[in-house]
């Protein structure tokens, strides 16, 4: 059972999801009723200047609320009473969504969190000579802009197959409050 004593200021909870794909966006569109085709059809998204489908603005929000519902044992141990987000960055197929909730305050039975949801977007992997050995959707469709580079969002790191280039961007800052039963 999740209880108040399980939380302390500064404590972090992290969730990663790396299965964002077109099938999932289609499922979300059908279930939510948000059937704008820029989320499900590449040709329409391209006509809108987006280079490919983008996730629904509130799609990634569900991973934040699910994190708290799981934390609260499907709300049997308490309730998520507030959650707010700003939508700053588009989420794409192939992105890894990293949701971090940090305890900012414990007030009675309420626990307050700061939320930071980031997208990690792989672009390509190059060998030591600079040849591309693997290209990801972001590389193929040109999702990374000069602005991203200028803002210092594009990074590299060594992986088994070579040097991975990726973008790390804040998609959704926010906050949440849960109220525990005990």
């Amino acid at each position: 059972m999740t209880k108040l004593a399980d939380f302390s200021v500064g404590q972090e909870f992290i969730n990663e999801f790396d299965e964002i794909n077109r099938e999932l966006l289609q499922l979300y569109a059908k279930a939510s009723g948000d059937t704008n085709p820029i989320h499900t059809r590449d040709e329409i998204a391209e006509k809108a200047g987006l280079n490919g489908v983008i996730a629904h603005g509130l799609f990634s929000f569900g991973f934040i609320t699910k994190m708290f519902e799981d934390m609260l044992n499907q709300e049997n141990d308490g309730q998520l009473i507030e959650c707010g987000v700003e939508m700053r960055g588009m989420v794409r197929c192939g992105d890894t969504l990293v949701t971090k909730a940090t305890v900012s305050k414990v007030d009675g039975k309420d626990v307050h969190f700061d939320i930071e949801q980031r997208t990690i977007t792989p672009v390509d992997i190059k060998d030591k000579e600079g040849n591309i050995v693997k290209q990801f959707e972001a590389g193929e469709r040109g999702y990374i802009s000069e602005k991203d580079e200028a803002k210092g969002l594009v990074h590299t790191k060594e992986v088994d197959e070579g040097i991975l280039t990726f973008r790390d961007r804040l998609a959704c800052p926010g906050h949440a409050i849960i109220r525990l039963k005990m």
């Binding site: 999932l24 499922l27 979300y28 059908k30 279930a31 939510s32 009723g33 948000d34 629904h56 603005g57 509130l58 929000f61 569900g62 991973f63 609320t65 699910k66 708290f68 519902e69 499907q74 309730q79 998520l80 009473i81 507030e82 959650c83 707010g84 987000v85 700003e86 939508m87 109220r179």
Partner: protein, 161 residues
């Protein structure tokens, strides 16, 4: 644009938005929606006979419908002529949401939700001339019980207001 913004800021905040948005909570949609996020608990994805409730993120379905129904419903008279709040719907963006469930009952299979709204704060980012406006939504079920309160933020790019 600044004159239009000032006109809207003077006339809209605090006023009711005409109309309402309706969302039916169907078993099929609630369970599919929960499965998108990997819920396996019968509370959210169990059988229709046993009954299920909506996961918290289902509130998005209400917000999105309210956003696109209620915002275009607002009309005003400016310089003697009727105009909609939104001059060009293609300039509308959804910038943020704050959900509050305190004292609310869960949404469940079979619920018929009705959402109504008021205009909240309005401001202009003079760097990019994007107008921001808050909509304060209250969604209730058919028993008049509140299921969620939402402050949703609309961003309207230049040419849209």
């Amino acid at each position: 644009m600044i004159k239009n913004f000032e006109f809207l800021k003077e006339n809209l905040p605090g006023t009711d938005i005409p109309g309402k948005a309706r969302v039916k909570c169907r078993y099929r949609d609630l369970s599919k929606f929960a499965k998108v996020y990997g819920f396996e608990d019968p509370k959210y994805v169990g059988s229709k006979e046993d009954g299920i409730v909506a996961c918290k993120a289902w509130a998005n379905a209400i917000t999105v419908k309210s956003f696109y129904i209620l915002i275009p419903a607002t009309k005003l008279t400016q310089n003697g002529e009727e105009r909609p709040f939104l001059l060009n719907p293609n300039k509308l963006l959804h910038a943020g949401n704050q959900y509050n469930w305190e004292g609310c009952v869960p949404m469940k299979d079979g619920d018929k939700i009705i959402s109504r709204g008021k205009w909240g704060k309005m401001w202009l980012n003079k760097d990019n001339m994007i107008l921001f406006a808050e909509l304060l939504l209250t969604a209730k079920n058919e028993n008049d019980e509140t299921v969620v309160k939402v402050t949703t933020q609309a961003a309207v790019r230049p040419g849209g207001y």
